[in-house]
Symmetry: C2
Subunit: 409 residues, 2 copies
Amino acid sequence: MKAVGLVVEYNPFHNGHLYHLEASKTASGADAVIAVMSGNFLQRGEPALVSKWARTKMALKQGADLVIELPYAYATQKAETFADGAISILEALGCSSVCFGSENGEISPFLETAELLNSHHAEYQQLVKQFMKEGMSYPSAQTSAFLSLETDSRPLDLSLPNNILGFQYVRAIQKQKASMRPLTIKRTAAGYHDEDFNSSPIASATSIRKALFSDEQKDISPFVPSSTNELLREYESEHGVLHHWENYFNLLKYTVCTMSMEEMRQIYEVEEGLENRVKSVIMHAESFKEFMEQLKTKRYTWTRLQRMCLHLLTRTTKDQMQQAGGRAPYLRLLGMSDAGRSYLNSVKKNLETPLVSVLSSFSHPLLDLDIKASAVHAMILPEPLRSHCIKREYSTRPFQYDREKGCFL
Amino acid sequence: MKAVGLVVEYNPFHNGHLYHLEASKTASGADAVIAVMSGNFLQRGEPALVSKWARTKMALKQGADLVIELPYAYATQKAETFADGAISILEALGCSSVCFGSENGEISPFLETAELLNSHHAEYQQLVKQFMKEGMSYPSAQTSAFLSLETDSRPLDLSLPNNILGFQYVRAIQKQKASMRPLTIKRTAAGYHDEDFNSSPIASATSIRKALFSDEQKDISPFVPSSTNELLREYESEHGVLHHWENYFNLLKYTVCTMSMEEMRQIYEVEEGLENRVKSVIMHAESFKEFMEQLKTKRYTWTRLQRMCLHLLTRTTKDQMQQAGGRAPYLRLLGMSDAGRSYLNSVKKNLETPLVSVLSSFSHPLLDLDIKASAVHAMILPEPLRSHCIKREYSTRPFQYDREKGCFL
């Protein structure tokens, strides 16, 4: 059997994701689709709208055959580390290709860019440092460094978020000497960060989330599969909430208030005196938005600061995160279809990375971070739901989806 | 001028407190009453019903002339440390006497007991250790040790909570070589822990709190001065809550969930592997009461465990608390009457301990704990009230009460 890997967040699963999933299967000629998915917190340092379990269901129903959790220590990081973790998981599972969306749908510019940066490695690193010294954020410094390289052609626009991620996948494949082939699908319609709907049935996840939280109760059904819509509504009615940073502001304020400066400095991404700024700003801020707007400076992107806040919220330390970076140390299975189970059986004996179906069977410091993150994600729920969700992390077995019957076993 | 000192919590101020205040003034012949009062968290490891500011108003309206905050590091401790802090503050302010309630209203049994324990010091300590080894809680071991001393007479029943506190005041006076005279007033009617009302106009604070939180909306007005009742109602309508441990359970669960075992062990009162018990029990507990009932063992009193929970909630470490024990390092003034101001003026030039009226004028690690405790106490309030209460800790000047006009200036 042959599998294609996708790196996803599905927050929530929408028509663009469906298009990407189906086109990836066609382009790769794969029998199974493996989705490596962020858990309850996402790359932008945000809580997922709904738990990873609900998002796993969305993915399985729409065509994913295996859903594997990207550990917190990779999922909540800058593109480079995020890609390292995701690619290592797909490679460990023997994917013959990984397929990502890009602006123009051609893979050669990604390969050429990787080549270009390899051959200008020292110059590029030097330039990034220099631009950061001048006060740029890390992503801006990267873009500027790339644009300043002494070269005749720049095959890729690295200021576009999707191109950055795609490029990092290609770079990770090369770095890890992975055998999988990178493929890319041309994105349709919506830009990554588009905030508003247009006439296309494809809208960005950002615009869909915005609609979900708007007071106007905008209808998202034109933009998501009906199963996504149902699962979102079901989650909201059972849990009383779609998760949003504002729900956690109370806990963030509390935890910052009780932490000493020394403790704050130990938290991942708290650098260069940010602890003083966070502490003084948060005490008088009345909402997460107000807090972030007051915290924001030119030096740091919103995303970077939001990730720092997330690590404060989960009290994730530099020591704990130091263990992430190279290959992910386990494969946490969240769900599978029949095809996914067949695929797993076909590769099982060659797996070198432990496959984790139930938590009691395995332990690892990075898995402890995933467990803690799930508990924190559930912390805003009312009892007894909260206790139930915390317990569920240990007791839930991976979902099994019967695609023919269209139901879970 | 002559001042009598009272050690109080006023949670809330009730008719028994009024009786004690007036009788103390009479018995001591003092011109001014100085109340050293626990801040936002109390000796039993509980949040105060209403803030220290509201309780300061209650005290001033009913006859206190100076209200001084007993720092968190003394207020949330076993009787011995609690008494050390309170007595040192009253002594620093030049009180000529301290007056406490007791079961039979005679001071000699307290003095004789202190004498007895002084002369049997080694034997007593040895017995306490032995009983604790046998699995007794610290207070039970103390009582048993006292009852096991080889002596003909035991002048005091040290199993009664009020007698324990009174005895500790006397012991602290001796230890600190304080010049103030201990006085005692016979308590009327209600026992310290009585949970129910009877026909007397005096009811225990425990029973009053119970009534305030009961579903039946029991009327507490027969048992408290009308100003207390008004201030409680005013606080509740402004803040939407009377503070109770259950309100904080969410935060406690969250903080325990994000702490490592190593971090938990650094918290004050987390001893002998309690961190493991707390962590495993809290994850599945749906309320503070359920949590405490599951946590409770013969070895620890409810109060001892509740204090540990409080230190977890405020993340107060062993290192931080190590600085408490001897004399309180500052006198935080919360409010005063005209007589209080006159008294302060009369002793001001002889004060050896800094008097703190506004926070910006002084800094001390123990004062930081008070500030943090106030912020945590306010953490359950909705915004913008929460931010307001946190700011207020810095901006509020001590209340000034004009007793003749019956109003605050």
